[in-house]
Symmetry: C2
Subunit: 505 residues, 2 copies
C-alpha cells in the first residue's frame, strides 16, 4: 500500500486538538454522552481499560498495606457544614437529594412526593472525607487501632457546567484512599508513599511521564494542610493533574472528632490523609499517546495486546487461515507479559479487511497480526505495531516467543516518546515578558497550551491576577528539584525555588 | 480444653435468629450501620468477601461472552414514566435529586439553592433498565449489531423503611446484566443461561444449595414477561431469593424504542433480558453457614484460607516460632486452591492467644494453624477446621501438600450440611389445614420460617389472601420438577404442577 494521505481521525491534533480528542474517544469506542446532562456512558472498550487500571492500582494499594471497604453514597448535609474550608471548596456544586418517593402528579406524569420530603437533605458524595471520617471516629479508640489504611472504589458526583468525556464529567469513577495515623510523621510518610505509588503507576504502567510536586496554598485540596500531585503534559502542551495525595493534618480529625488514647493515656486527635485518581486517567492516556489515527494504548493497560485478523477469499482459504489463527491465539495466550497472560483476540467478523484493521488501529491495540493464505503457507506472521508504520514479518515461532519483548518495547517506546515531547515543551523562564509571550495564545479554553515553564515565584495577589488573565496556573513545586534561590518573576521578591506553570485541564 | 459452655455469639440461632444474624455480622466485622439512614458501611472483611464474589462471577460472565460497561447513576424522571408497569413497581420509593447546588442558609448552615432547582428531577438508579435501554436504542441499528451482552457492577438505591445489613438496605452493591437479542428464542436462552450461571455460582462457589424456578405473575419483576430466580433456604427455615434473571420480551424495547433492521430489511423491536445478584448474597452466606460461634466461610470465598497463629512466651521462642510461621506461610501460598493461590495470613498482633483465635473463628476462616515451640520442635502443625471441633495434627509437609484437599473438603462439607438442612425443612403439603399449621408461628417478622412446602396451586385472590395472612409467599415453580397434575390446595382448581411456598427475606 502507498502512504495514506488521510488520517483515520479528522480533524488532526494540529488542526483542532479538543475536537481531535472527542473524535478519538468516539472512534476508539471509549465513551459517549448519556441522556443525563454531564454523565457519561463508559463503553466496553473504555471500561476494560478502567478495569486494567483498577486491577493494577489495587494490587499496588494492597502491597502497601491497604484494604478496600465501601461507604455510603450519600452524605448528610450537616456533615458538610462541619469542616468550613472543605465546604467552601466542595459543597457548592453537587447533587442534592431532597425526597425519597415519587407519586403521580395528576397529569399522567410523576413528581417528588411532598409528603416524602427528607428532614435533612442528602448530598451525593463529591468526595468522602466527611462520611468516612465519621465512621473512622467510631473505629478509633486507642493507638492500638492505628493506622487505619482504607481505600474505596466508587462513583462520585460534582456538578459541572462544561463537561468533557473523562476529563470533566458530573459523575465519574475513582478510588479514594483514606488513612488515619497516630503521628504527624506517619501521616506525612503515607502521603508521600501514595504519591510515589501514583507516579510509579503513571510512568511504568500508563507510560505517561509525570512530575511529582506540592501544590501552592491557592491550589490545595479544601481543608488539607498540604496537597501533592503528579502532573503530566499532554500533546497540546497543557498540563493534566493526574492524581493527588493530601496530608490533612488534624483538620478533618478535629471536625469529625477522630480521637484516640495515646500510649500515655492522653486523648489526642489523629492525623489523616486522603488520595485519589479517577477515570480522568483515561483522558490522560488518550492525550498522551493518541495520534492522528486514534488511540495508542500502552500494552500494560490494553484490553487486547494482539488482534489477529484472518484474511481469506473462499471457504477453502477460510478453513486453513482460521485453523492457523486459532493455533496462534493459543500459543500467544500461553505467553505472559508484565505478570499477566498475553491477551489475544481473533476478529472473525464478516467485515472488509481494511475496515476491521482500522477499527483496531483507532482502538489503539498494540499489535495487529494479519494472517492470509500466504502466511499460512510460509509459516510466517505479518504484523504491525501501533507505535510504528513499519510492516513487520517474523516466523510464527519467533513471533510468539518474542511477543513479551515486543510488547515491552512498545511500552517503552510510548514512554520515551512522551518524555521527549515533554522535554521539547519545557522551558525555564526568568522574566515576565517572556512568560507572557510563552503563554500568549487565542483566548479561549480550547487553545493550545504553550508548555511547562519553570519559574521563580512567590504567591501573591499580583501573581494570581496575571495568571488569571493568561489562563495559566501554577501546577506544583517539583519535589525532585533542589533549592535554587532566585527572584519571583511576578513581583521581584526573593524566591527559594522554582514552580512549574502551565495551562491545564 | 473442656467443652465450652458458652458460644462466641450470643444469642444463639435457636434463641433469637434475627439477633444472632446481627451479632454475627458485627462479630465477623462484615458491616455496620452508617450515619445515613438505611445505608451500610461494608467493612474490609465483608468487602473482601464481596471482591471474591465479584471476581469469580465476573469471570463467569466473561466466559459466557459478556463485557462490562458503566452507565449513569441518575435516571431522568421522565424515563420512569415510559414503562408503566415498571414505574408502578419501582418508581415509588427512591432517592430524588432536585437541586444541583447548596448555598448558605443565612443561619450558619446550608440549604439547597432555590436558584439551582433542576428542571427535571433525577432519580438515583434503583435498577438501570430504563437508562441502559435508552443507550442501547442508540447502539442498535441493524441485526448485525446484535446480540449486545453487557454487565454493570454498580451501586443502586431503593428507599427502605425497615433495613437489615446486607439483606435490605437503601443503598447496595450489585451487578446488573442487560442484553439485547434479535429473536425471542435467543433472549429466552440468555435468560436461562444466566439463571444457570447463578445456580452454579451459588452451589459450587457459595456452597449454598438453590432451587431454580419461575416466579408467578404476582412475584414478577415489574415489566418482565417471565422472571426466574434461584431460591435458597436459610437456617431459620425462611427462603432467600438469591438472584433473578428476567425475560423482558419486547416490553422495554417498545418503551425505549430499541429497534433494528432485520435480515429482510424490516424494522422490528428487539428482545431484552436483565439479571442481577447483590451484596444480599453475603447475608445468604451468613445465614446458610454461620453457627453459634459466628461466620463460617466457604473456602472459595474466604479472604483468608488459612490463618497462622504464632504462640510463644519469650523472645527466644518468638524467633523460632515466627521463622517457622514465615516458612509455612510461603509454602502454603505456593499451593493453589480452586484456581487461585492459597491465601494465608499470619496474625502477629500482640494479643492473647485465645482472643486472637476467637476473632478468626468468628470471622469464619476455614483453617487455623496454631504454632508453638512444641510444634516447631516436632515439625508438626496443630490445626483446626472451622467446620468441625476436632483438634487436628499433621506433619508440616503433609499439611502443606494436603491444603487444597482440606479446603475442598471443607467447601464440600458446607454444601452437604446446607443441603441436609434444606431437605430436613422441606415437605410436600396437599391440604390447606396442614399448610396453615406448617406456617403457623408468632405473628411478627422475626419469627422462624417453617420451611419449604411443595404444594399444588393456581394463582387467585383467595390464595393471595391466605398467603398474606400467614406471611407466606410462593417462591417459584421449580424448573427441575416434572408436571404432576393435582389440585390447588387453596381453591381446589386443577393444577399442573407444584410450586414452593415459604416465608422469605
Amino acid at each position: 500500500m502507498s502512504k495514506q494521505p488521510q488520517t483515520a481521525i479528522s480533524p488532526t491534533r494540529a488542526e483542532n486538538f479538543p475536537e481531535w480528542y472527542q473524535q478519538v474517544v468516539r472512534a476508539a469506542d471509549l465513551a459517549e454522552n448519556s441522556d443525563v446532562r454531564g454523565c457519561m456512558v463508559i463503553k466496553p472498550w473504555g471500561y476494560a481499560i478502567w478495569e486494567n487500571i483498577e486491577r493494577r492500582l489495587d494490587a499496588m494499594f494492597k502491597a502497601t498495606g491497604h484494604e478496600n471497604a465501601y461507604f455510603p453514597l450519600f452524605i448528610p448535609m450537616s456533615f458538610l457544614e462541619k469542616e468550613a474550608e472543605h465546604v467552601e471548596g466542595f459543597a457548592k456544586e453537587c447533587a442534592v437529594v431532597t425526597h425519597h418517593r415519587l407519586e403521580p402528579d395528576g397529569k399522567g406524569g410523576l413528581q417528588p412526593a411532598p409528603s416524602a420530603k427528607l428532614e435533612e437533605p442528602l448530598i451525593v458524595r463529591p468526595t468522602s472525607e466527611t462520611i468516612i471520617g465519621a465512621t473512622f471516629a467510631r473505629w478509633v479508640q486507642s493507638y492500638r487501632d492505628l493506622p487505619i489504611l482504607i481505600n474505596q472504589w466508587a462513583n462520585v458526583v460534582r456538578w459541572e457546567l462544561r463537561t468533557r468525556l473523562f476529563l470533566r464529567t458530573a459523575e465519574f469513577l475513582w478510588q479514594e484512599g483514606h488513612t488515619v495515623h497516630a503521628t504527624e510523621a506517619e501521616a506525612r510518610e503515607e502521603t508521600m508513599r501514595m504519591l510515589d505509588v501514583y507516579a510509579d503507576f503513571a510512568e511504568n504502567t500508563m507510560a505517561m511521564p509525570v512530575i511529582k510536586g506540592e501544590k501552592t496554598a491557592g491550589e490545595r485540596f479544601p481543608g488539607a494542610v498540604s496537597t501533592f500531585s503528579i502532573e503530566a503534559l499532554m500533546q497540546d502542551r497543557k498540563a493534566l493533574q493526574a492524581g493527588t495525595s493530601h496530608f490533612l493534618g488534624q483538620n478533618f480529625a478535629r471536625a469529625q472528632n477522630i480521637k484516640f488514647q495515646d500510649e500515655n493515656g492522653q486523648e489526642v486527635f489523629a492525623w489523616t490523609t486522603s488520595w485519589g485518581v479517577s477515570t480522568r486517567l483515561i483522558g490522560g492516556l488518550v492525550m498522551t499517546h493518541g495520534d492522528d489515527d486514534g488511540l495508542m494504548l500502552p500494552p500494560k493497560l490494553a484490553p487486547a495486546h494482539v488482534v489477529i485478523l484472518p484474511i481469506y477469499r473462499n471457504d477453502d482459504e477460510k478453513t486453513q487461515v482460521l485453523a492457523f489463527c486459532d493455533a496462534l491465539e493459543k500459543e500467544l495466550a500461553a505467553q505472559s507479559f508484565a505478570g499477566e497472560p498475553v491477551r489475544v483476540r481473533i476478529d472473525k467478523r464478516d467485515l472488509r479487511g481494511g475496515e476491521k484493521k482500522w477499527q483496531w488501529v483507532k482502538r489503539g491495540v498494540p499489535i495487529r497480526a494479519e494472517i492470509g493464505p500466504r502466511d499460512v503457507a510460509s509459516g510466517k506472521v505479518f504484523y504491525g505495531r501501533r507505535d510504528s508504520s513499519a510492516k513487520l514479518e517474523a516466523p510464527r515461532a519467533e513471533f510468539v516467543t518474542n511477543i513479551a519483548n515486543t510488547l515491552a518495547d512498545i511500552q517503552q517506546s510510548l514512554f520515551a516518546r512522551a518524555l521527549e515531547a515533554r522535554k521539547a515543551a519545557t522551558v525555564q523562564i526568568n522574566d515576565l515578558a517572556t512568560f507572557k509571550e510563552f503563554f500568549a495564545s487565542k483566548d479561549d479554553e480550547d487553545s493550545e497550551g504553550g508548555g511547562l515553564a519553570y519559574c521563580h515565584f512567590i504567591e501573591s495577589p499580583a501573581m494570581d491576577e496575571i495568571l488569571k488573565s493568561l489562563k495559566v496556573t501554577v501546577r506544583c513545586v517539583p519535589l525532585a528539584d533542589a533549592d535554587e534561590p532566585g527572584k519571583c518573576i511576578f513581583t521581584g521578591q526573593p524566591s527559594p525555588r522554582r514552580g512549574i506553570f502551565a495551562k491545564a485541564y
